[in-house]
Symmetry: C2
Subunit: 334 residues, 2 copies
DNA sequence: TTGAAAGCGCTAACAG
DNA sequence: CTGTTAGCGCTTTCAA
């Protein structure tokens, strides 16, 4: 590592002169500035980030805590966050909570010792189930800002969400407008805040439609169990199903495959709508219609909010930004 | 942030006493140690990471540079790296090169100023195509260790790879053993080191088989163009195809869908083998047979290698670790 | 058994 | 225009 001291020695000036020169201080002569900069460039001098942080009490780094990178939604959010953060000169330290409360607590703890200027996070499933958010409040109390996204909690901090209720409400209305009479909702995220909201949107849409006589059917599939079996079972016990709304990221694809295998004509006999950003899910045939979450916008918004917050730490009002969704009709809807 | 100074003031002792007490120094009386620790716990004291780093010249942080988080292989590798690193008390700063040389250079540059103790990276496509690795050598010259994985380059540093050649050689041999006579290779990664190796494995297997009369057929699909069209086209121009080896992460799924749609019976008429770890790709029906990359092992190995390197910086010999692959036969092979 | 002082690399008063 | 000094939070001699 090249340090200011080394530059100073080589140039026979003081460390502070070098420092000022590199920062284009008015105090330093043009000539000196040039000499300093030349040598710095020549030796590939890089200011030591740790020293800078220690001095300024700023790290130019965010902690990003996500439940699961293998979920395409979070992978894309991470991508968006990294992209925007790096554009704005910030680095990100990534932690994966693996849906576990303890890992989430740990990550927050480990990074809250001056490692990061703030956090961007989406809450682990266990945390939501247990509704245990003390570890998050603890950070907030220390005046370290947090921006929550997607899976949020009732805390006073900035948030970025989508209109989960509205999105599945609209999707359900679309299925109704196709004249569907047996619309089933499939979910592997019933425990999550977003899962509940999305389910409610579906229920509301059915309820409001006076022509719709059937009781709502909600199938809870379980990531750990056999998703495929549950879905096959759905077709057995509900042979008249003609509409499926999958509110998690993957079950829509499985439903499509199973439906085709059972001999359903999609979308003639059966419409399917999934929930996700455009991604590998559209590698189906016909292509899955989805509610698009605009994940890049979500990620970008979290970074913007966090940087805003850093720039005016005092304010006590917090903002919740809602990113629009789109119903994208592809091949699995009429 | 609570600091040693604050603890010292409250306890009416010196900062150094507090420091030693927290580090269980023999020099300090049991009594003092206890008092110090109690207060530290009570105030939730956390040693400032930046100060520690500055002092020790160690960051307990790795820089991880991957080409693309949306690729399931890299997402999983990142997951494995984060998991093992965190288990060993390290944090990771994640950068996504987005397959771009410039972003890769930038990331290395930005983090090589004392931000990390070392790097774990997989090389961007552009970097491999241009075969431009000066930016990597520059870091190595500064004695900052780098562990390359999957997409490696001819540099003296530690590496973790799979036996790409052998894996597709074996897979091709399997297809031959099924009696397949028209085996096509599909790739969207022809530019990459691993793509070339995998292609060579396929070619070698065909060449060695004296009963196999057909010339090899290699289809280069292009991520930016219409993968689906290229594959449909393959079935048009090669109606006799009865074996497909897809050496990238996704085209196998597309091939399966298209084949089924064309009326091929899989695996009776046509066998398909994809290349990837178990993942969403098995959400097909029949399930895709794949060459499994054991991505968790790959990620774990990179961390182990890097930590080893940190512990004995002097050695000049570098190790290349090859992680075994497995051919996993599921529903798309006989 | 405790404390004072130096120093990691940097910036910013303040002095010259 | 340049240098001296102090200090960010911590560890570590060395001295008391």
């Amino acid at each position: 590592m090249v340090t200011l001291k080394q530059l100073a020695e080589q140039l026979n000036v003081s460390v502070s002169t070098v420092s000022k020169a590199l920062n284009n201080s008015e105090e330093i002569s043009k000539d000196t500035i040039q000499r300093v900069k030349e040598l710095a460039k020549h030796l590939n001098y890089q200011p030591n980030r740790m020293a800078l942080s220690l001095k300024s009490n700023k790290t130019k780094t965010f902690g990003v805590i996500i439940p699961n990178v293998l979920n395409h939604f979070f992978a894309k959010a991470l991508y968006a966050i990294e992209k925007e953060a790096s554009r704005q000169g910030f680095s990100i330290i990534t932690c994966v909570s693996n849906e576990l409360l303890e890992k989430e607590e740990q990550s927050l703890q480990v990074l809250s010792n001056g490692s990061v200027d703030g956090f961007i996070m989406s809450i682990a499933e266990e945390t939501q189930v247990k509704n245990s958010t003390d570890h998050i409040s603890l950070i907030l109390d220390q005046d370290i800002p947090i921006v929550l996204f997607d899976r949020v909690a009732d805390l006073s901090c900035d948030k970025v969400i989508i209109d989960d209720f509205g999105a599945s409400y609209e999707a359900t209305k679309h299925l109704l407008s196709e004249g569907r009479k047996h619309i089933v909702l499939i979910s592997d995220i019933e425990e999550l805040s977003v899962g509940k909201l999305r389910t409610n949107g579906y229920l509301k849409a059915l309820e409001e439609n006076i022509d719709y006589k059937q009781p709502p059917i909600v199938i809870h599939v379980n990531k750990d169990n056999d998703v495929e079996a549950s879905i096959e079972n759905l077709f057995m016990s509900n042979p008249k199903v003609d509409g499926i709304l999958s509110i998690d990221n993957t079950s829509g694809v499985v439903a499509l495959h199973k439906a085709l295998k059972k001999g359903f004509k999609v979308p003639e006999d059966l419409s399917i709508i999934g929930f996700s950003d455009e991604n590998v899910l559209v590698f189906t045939d016909p292509k899955l219609s989805t509610i698009s979450q605009h994940t890049m916008d979500i990620g970008k918004a979290t970074v913007e909010l966090l940087i805003d917050r850093l720039n005016k730490k005092n304010t006590t009002t917090h903002v919740t930004k809602t990113i629009k969704t789109n119903l994208i009709l592809r091949g699995t809807t009429k």
